[in-house]
């Protein structure tokens, strides 16, 4: 399992401007380690925010 993390990290590092991508991966990998796919989905749910209500004037953003 560590090999997966290490390899993915090296692949991301090989990409340009990878700091945020790497941070995202670490968050997702940590979630996977603690609770597998369900935990990852939970993290994604927390990250993805949708506008709420018909108008934006009172908009706070809601989670999926």
């Amino acid at each position: 399992m560590n090999a997966i993390d290490e390899t993915v990290v090296s692949k991301i590092r090989a990409q340009r401007e990878h700091a945020e991508v790497l941070e995202l991966w670490k968050k997702l990998w940590a979630a996977y380690g603690s609770g597998r796919a369900a935990a990852v989905e939970q993290v994604l749910t927390g990250l993805v925010k949708l506008p709420s209500g018909p108008g934006l004037t009172t908009m706070q953003g809601r989670r999926r």
Binding site: V21, L28, Y32, V40, L44, L56, M59
Partner: protein, 728 residues
């Protein structure tokens, strides 16, 4: 088998102690002493419990596909005698030279003991990982070999074969991640933010357009009503209402009414309050003006006089009717006093006629008595008048007849007529009396009403025949007063209406313009805030788009990593798998096994092919040319190759039932292969296959290994252990 080669630097299994776990209700101790071992016995005697106990003791859990729809606690408890409160516990001992590693777990705690160092829970887990150098997935993939894990390679479905290969290579975690790391929700969210902003912008523009249109209409109406541009402001509004208030107060004063001054109006919001105050003032002037009060009084006077006039006419008519009725009776029957006199005379006459009737009756009786006397006498003559008796009798009879038939009847008829006359006269007299009374009563009412009218009109007294004229004159006079006052009230109403028109012009012409301007200004102010919110929303959308892009890059890195790691694993395991394929399968035509990755755009597939001497022109997909047994043996070859090439610190392989689907020749080959493997590491074999066990004995495996023979099961397995010579 001695374990004294280069791999002796790693941990080997020394013993396993199992309590209250799955197939073992009480306690079972199995010794291995670092040697290879054979666990043999029929199905259902507890062999697999040992492998499960190893997994649970080391990691406290199982791969996800083991526990489906059942809790871990229920799975652990003994299958035969699960009782409440029972706790499963296991202890596994590894050794590395003289050093011992004791791993123990029960329902509540986990401990690792190395030499004199004893750690528990999280620190124990960290020490375990450090010493063994593997995690649970690696244990299941590269130490505890179960044939069920290669079954997927035999399936037709490419997706299932890929999944089985992922599991063998430890790439199932990558697949699981790729499955959940979808970019679409983030991309959809980005679009949703952008669209929400666009939609609201359009709505706000439409609202602004509507407000501006309403303002233009209001301005147009204001100009039509006579307002100039200079008036269309709050100063103009204040001045117009101030002027209106002055005019109104002046008018009210003129008509004797005091009104509250209009409140100052310098905002559109106050206009409504001022307008209501104005309407209230109008009403109070209408109701409370002097003229209005006098007019009301005059109208009341007319109504009162007209009512008196109406009553006078009614009572007069009734009195006249009664007088006429009395006069008509008098004309027909004479005066009431005459009638009484006539009744007295008639009654007197009745008395006389009754006396005459009584005398006539007495006379007739006398004549009848005389005749009876004559008839009783024999004398032919009357002694008095000397008439013959016979003539006298005839004369008497004639006189009696006349008396009976004419005289008395005539008297009776006269008496009856007189009585009828008296009755008639009395009836007329009664009616006359009633007419007299009615006339008197009506006259009395008329007199009372006259007094009332006199009091109403004023003055000492008015003759009856003057009343009607005087009433008409008074009504006419009051009418003239009303007409005069009405003209004044109408003039006031006209003045009030002019003021009301003036106020309406301000309210409907000027106020809407100011309200519209305020609305547009407020909307534009709010729009500025909304624009800031829109910028935030667009930034949030951009954030979501970036998240989608980042996820895509993570997916790409995962795919690259998978391809690289899988290729590396297959590259390491390939030669050994190739060698084992030849030993186990011995396919005459296809002697070469080729397993490699095939990178695709969004996934990584696997080639699982066989060929003749590696010639690509002869390469065929393994599942199309090999039997199920050969395919199973091929999968086991790959399995062993991968297990042997995986790096960790356990110098052991636990192989559970490796001969399913294999024929005798393959079983014999498998026995030789595992015997050969046991020369380099600790191999623990579990099997129910007697043929395989015989081949293992023949190959020398069983003779050098610990043999735990599971002979039966009754809540606990019955185990007969045979130790190799070195351990006895």
């Amino acid at each position: 088998v001695s374990g004294k080669d280069a791999s002796s630097a790693k941990w080997r299994l020394q013993s396993v102690r199992i309590r209250g776990f799955r197939g073992i209700a009480h306690e079972q101790f199995l010794e291995f002493g670092g040697k290879s071992a054979l666990l043999k016995g029929n199905n259902g005697v507890g062999k697999s419990t040992v492998a499960l106990a190893l997994q649970w003791t080391l990691f406290g859990k199982f791969p996800e596909n083991v526990l489906q729809n059942v809790s871990l606690d229920r799975f652990l408890l003994p299958v035969s005698a699960a009782t409440k409160g029972q706790v499963s516990s296991c202890e596994v001992v590894f050794a590395q030279g003289r050093e011992k590693l004791v791993v123990a777990r029960d329902g509540k705690s986990f401990s690792v003991t190395v030499g004199s160092e004893r750690l528990s829970d999280a620190r124990a887990e960290a020490r375990r990982d450090q010493l063994l150098g593997l995690d649970m997935d690696t244990l299941v993939r590269a130490v505890l070999l179960q044939q069920t894990r290669v079954r997927g390679l035999l399936l037709d479905e490419l997706k299932e074969r890929n999944r089985a290969m992922d599991r063998l290579l430890g790439m199932d975690a990558v697949e699981e991640l790729l499955e959940v790391l979808k970019t679409k929700p983030a991309a959809d969210a980005a679009n949703a933010w952008r669209q929400a902003v666009e939609t609201e912008k359009r709505e706000l523009e439409a609202q602004l357009k509507l407000l501006q249109g309403q303002l233009e209409d209001a301005e147009r109406r204001a100009r039509t009503a006579g307002f100039f541009n200079k008036d269309l402001n709050f100063v103009g509004l204040r001045n117009r209402y101030a002027q209106l208030g002055d005019d109104f107060e002046k008018l009210a004063r003129e008509h004797g009414v005091t009104i509250e001054p209009l409140p100052p109006c310098d905002t559109a919001a106050k206009a409504e309050v001022v307008s209501r105050a104005f309407a209230k003032g109008l009403q109070s002037v209408r109701v409370g003006s002097d003229r209005q009060k006098r007019l009301q009084a005059a109208q009341n006077e007319i109504a009162r006089l007209e009512l008196l006039q109406s009553r006078w006419n009614t009572v007069m008519a009734a009195r006249d009717d009664a007088a006429q009725q009395r006069a008509r009776l008098a004309a027909e029957h004479g005066a009431h006093e005459n009638l009484l006199e006539r009744i007295a005379l008639a009654e007197k006459r009745i008395v006389e006629e009754r006396e005459t009737l009584r005398s006539a009756s007495s006379l007739r009786q006398l004549l009848a008595d005389a005749r009876r006397h004559i008839e009783g006498q024999a004398a032919p003559q009357c002694p008095v008048c000397e008439q013959s008796a016979r003539d006298l009798d005839a004369s008497l009879r004639k006189r009696i007849d006349v008396m009976s038939t004419e005289t008395i009847r005539a008297i009776e008829a006269a008496c009856k007529r007189t009585e009828q006359e008296v009755s008639s006269l009395r009836d007329i007299a009664r009616r006359s009396t009633e007419a007299e009374k009615l006339a008197a009563s009506q006259q009395e009412s008329l007199d009372k009403l006259r007094q009332e009218i006199v009091a109403a009109l004023g003055g000492a007294g008015i003759a009856e025949n003057k009343i009607r004229v005087r009433l008409s004159e008074s009504i006419d006079a009051a009418g003239k007063t009303v007409r005069g006052l009405s003209e004044g009230v109408a003039a006031l109403e006209k003045a009030l209406e002019a003021l009301a028109d003036n106020e309406r012009t301000v309210r409907d012409g000027l106020v809407p313009v100011l309200v519209g301007r305020e609305a547009v200004a407020a909307f534009e102010l709010r729009n500025k805030k909304v624009e800031a919110q829109h910028a935030e929303s667009l930034a949030r959308g951009e954030e979501m788009a970036q998240l989608a892009a980042h996820l895509e890059r993570v997916r790409a890195a995962l795919l690259e990593a998978k391809e690289e790691l899988a290729s590396e694993s297959l590259g390491r395991a390939g030669p050994r798998a190739q060698q084992l394929y030849r030993l186990l399968v011995k396919q005459p035509l296809f002697d070469t096994l080729d397993i490699r990755t095939i990178p695709r755009a969004k996934k990584v597939d696997y080639a699982f092919e066989v060929s003749s001497k590696g010639a690509s022109s002869t390469a065929r997909e393994a599942r199309l040319v090999l039997s199920d047994g050969q395919l199973t043996a091929t999968a086991m070859a790959l399995f062993f190759g991968l297990a042997e090439s995986t790096q960790h610190n356990l110098d052991m392989l636990y192989v559970d039932d490796p001969t399913q689907n294999l024929d005798l020749r393959a079983k014999e080959a498998m026995a030789k292969v595992v015997t050969e493997m046991s020369m380099r590491r600790q191999i623990i074999l579990a099997t129910q296959d007697e043929d395989f066990a015989s081949f293992l004995e023949a190959s020398g495996f069983a003779g050098a290994a610990v043999v735990h023979h599971f002979t039966g099961w009754n809540h606990d397995p019955s185990v007969k252990t045979t130790l190799p010579g070195a351990m006895r």
